[in-house]
């Protein structure tokens, strides 16, 4: 039962038991990361793609085959969909050996072919020699590899991974990232991975979709989604804490800048000529766009956006210091993270004055939060 390579098209709606209103596409050979906090419905979406959960409305198609169409009353069971599914805790059959776990997905083949393919796939995920071990006798990383081998051995139309790295230690996770990245290059099928870890999505995904309470917030290239969220909810979800109010002051087409009025300050941002001057907006800046130096040791880049600030709080966490500062003329605090060594060197302590540069390129106006 070799399945053809395919593209996933998914658009579903439902109001209960978990409200879902989501649309995603994933091309063959691409890895789409569904990112969202717990309860955002990302695992439910994956179960809908797998056929383990039936949406109330919408359409799901893969490889030109319609798997679900509420309007035409089409619903294919998981058995009919030809999918590779790796659940969060792998869902291995605990009473079977690693070999039999992989063979369990190959029952449509002749016994000799089942055996050949199961052995081949276990070797491919570096588990040769462990074929007869039961899941309880394997480490978390090895269990994950068995689950991946079982999912892929049946030549699926799509590979679905539900938080595949959440149950393994950090070292194992690093090596599994590498293996998944390699596997992805060899597979000509869409891969959909659910994760709540943004770094995981950045490392592995070709496309990323942010979800919140069952709704698609934003889709796109991972770096684009992280740096240019469409609204405040998306910004918060990608970990941006610097979210401010402002107003479009003017556009400078020659310098390719849009000037924002923020409290008593003027701030330069990349040119956005379609937003009319006078429009109330929300803007964000990721942590990487905030540069901080003590006055007197000024190695700051040349920028229009140089502001005086007063340090308010300093909180060391691990190798970093998280601090808040108040810019003169703006009420909302500015959040920044600096290495702990630098914080000591620059005497960043509550009450101290310093200068901050907000990189123009990193200033991003939230397009969905502009006043109409």
């Amino acid at each position: 039962m070799a399945c053809p390579s395919s593209k996933l098209e998914f658009a579903v709606e439902q109001s209960a038991p978990i409200p879902i209103s989501a649309g995603i596409d994933c091309e063959s050979g691409q890895l789409l990361a569904l990112v969202g906090p717990s309860g955002s419905g990302k695992s439910t979406l994956l179960r809908m793609i797998a056929g383990l959960s039936r949406p109330q409305a919408g359409r799901i198609a893969c490889g030109g085959t319609v798997w679900f169409d509420a309007a035409k009353d089409i619903f294919l069971s998981p058995q009919q969909r030809c999918i590779g599914y790796v659940p969060q805790h792998y869902g291995l059959f605990p009473h079977m050996s690693a070999l039999d776990n992989v063979r369990a997905g190959l029952h449509h083949l002749a016994p000799a072919e089942q055996l050949r393919r199961a052995i081949e796939w276990l070797a491919r995920v570096h588990l040769d020699g462990l074929e007869q071990r039961r899941p309880a006798e394997l480490s978390g990383g090895q269990q994950q590899r068995v689950a991946v081998a079982r999912a892929l051995a049946r030549d699926p139309t799509i590979l679905l991974l539900d938080e595949p790295f959440s149950a393994v230690d950090r070292t194992t996770r690093e090596s599994l990232y590498f293996e998944l990245a390699q596997l992805k290059r060899e597979l000509a099928i869409p891969v959909v991975m659910v994760t709540h870890d943004l770094n995981e999505a950045l490392l592995l995904a070709d496309q990323m979709t942010l979800l919140t309470i069952g709704k698609t917030l934003q889709s796109g290239l991972p770096y684009a989604v992280m740096a240019q969220p469409v609204n405040e909810a998306a910004a918060q979800q990608v970990g941006i804490r610097n979210i401010f109010d402002g107003e479009i002051a003017s556009h400078d087409a020659i310098a390719r800048l849009t000037w924002l009025r923020v409290g008593a300050l003027m701030l330069a941002s990349p040119l956005r000529p379609r937003i009319l001057p006078g429009t109330r907006i929300r803007w964000v800046i990721p942590n990487s766009g905030v540069r901080l130096r003590a006055v007197g040791r000024d190695y700051l880049p040349i920028s229009h956006n140089r502001f005086e600030v007063t340090i308010q709080t300093v909180l060391p966490i691990g190798n970093e210091v998280r601090l808040t500062a108040r810019m003169d003329g703006i009420d909302a605090p500015l959040h920044a993270q600096v290495p702990i060594r630098l914080a000591d060197e620059l005497h960043l302590a509550p009450g101290n004055r310093t200068t901050v540069v907000l990189l123009e390129k990193a200033v991003h106006i939230l397009p969905q939060d502009c006043e109409r």
Binding site: R47, G51, H89, P135, A136
Partner: protein, 226 residues
């Protein structure tokens, strides 16, 4: 030792297990996995024999299966004998009384199978029967074994319901539990003691065996104990 009474008890226990267990398997699975309206009521009804005095269950069975009841009349017309005070009535009564002992361990065993395992089976393309036979039953096996042992042992020791529905007809409805009662009534404590000891040893042996097998299976597969 009243060997016919012991044989009758063993025959009743085996028949009860044979007839009840397959139904309990599907009922237990359905209760574990299906969500339907009235499920708490169904669960309560199935558990009723656990909390009602055996004489009350026996009374309702006597009335429900007796010659005056629709079922009793229909069976009497069809077979020529009534269900009460007959071995067949004893089997029906035993099945009904043992429903919770058979269904509940099986239900708990199916519930203990992680949803991810069942999902994975479906995504491996496995049919309902293939999943049941190769994944669910091997994993639920300790629960099925517990149900089998509990049903068998409980039937051997059942007294109140048997007495109400079957009376004490030698060779027909006089089980070993009734025989022990009769011997005590006749002040034959030696015979009653021998039969009681036999039942005691047998019960301890099968329960210990069942628990041992369940634990061994659980440890082998890293499953939680039921």
């Amino acid at each position: 030792m009243e060997w016919p009474a012991l044989w009758l008890s063993l025959k009743l226990a085996m028949l009860t297990v044979l007839l009840l267990l397959p139904a309990a398997l599907f009922a237990g699975r359905a209760l574990a996995y299906r969500r339907f309206w009235g499920r708490p009521l169904v669960e309560a009804l199935l558990a009723v024999p656990l909390v009602l005095p055996p004489t009350v269950v026996g009374y309702y069975l006597l009335v429900g299966l007796g010659g005056q009841s629709l079922i009793g009349q229909w069976v009497a017309n069809w077979s020529g004998h009534t269900l009460v005070f007959h071995f067949s009535g004893l089997v029906i009564a035993s099945i009904i009384v043992n429903i919770p002992f058979a269904v509940q361990p099986i239900q708990r065993a199916f519930e203990a199978i992680p949803r991810e395992v069942r999902d994975a089976a479906a995504c491996c393309g496995m049919s309902f029967w293939r999943t049941l036979l190769t994944v669910e039953l091997p994993l639920a096996w300790p629960g099925v074994l517990t149900a089998l042992v509990l049903t068998f042992a409980h039937t051997l020791g059942e007294f109140g319901v048997v007495l109400m529905v079957g009376g004490s007809i030698p060779g027909e409805t006089k089980t070993i539990a009734i025989a022990i009662y009769d011997r005590v009534q006749a002040f034959d404590f030696d015979a009653a003691g021998r039969m009681s000891l036999l039942l005691l040893v047998f019960s301890i042996a099968v329960l210990a065996l069942a628990n041992g097998l369940s634990r061994r299976f659980g440890r082998r597969h890293g499953l939680p104990e039921l």
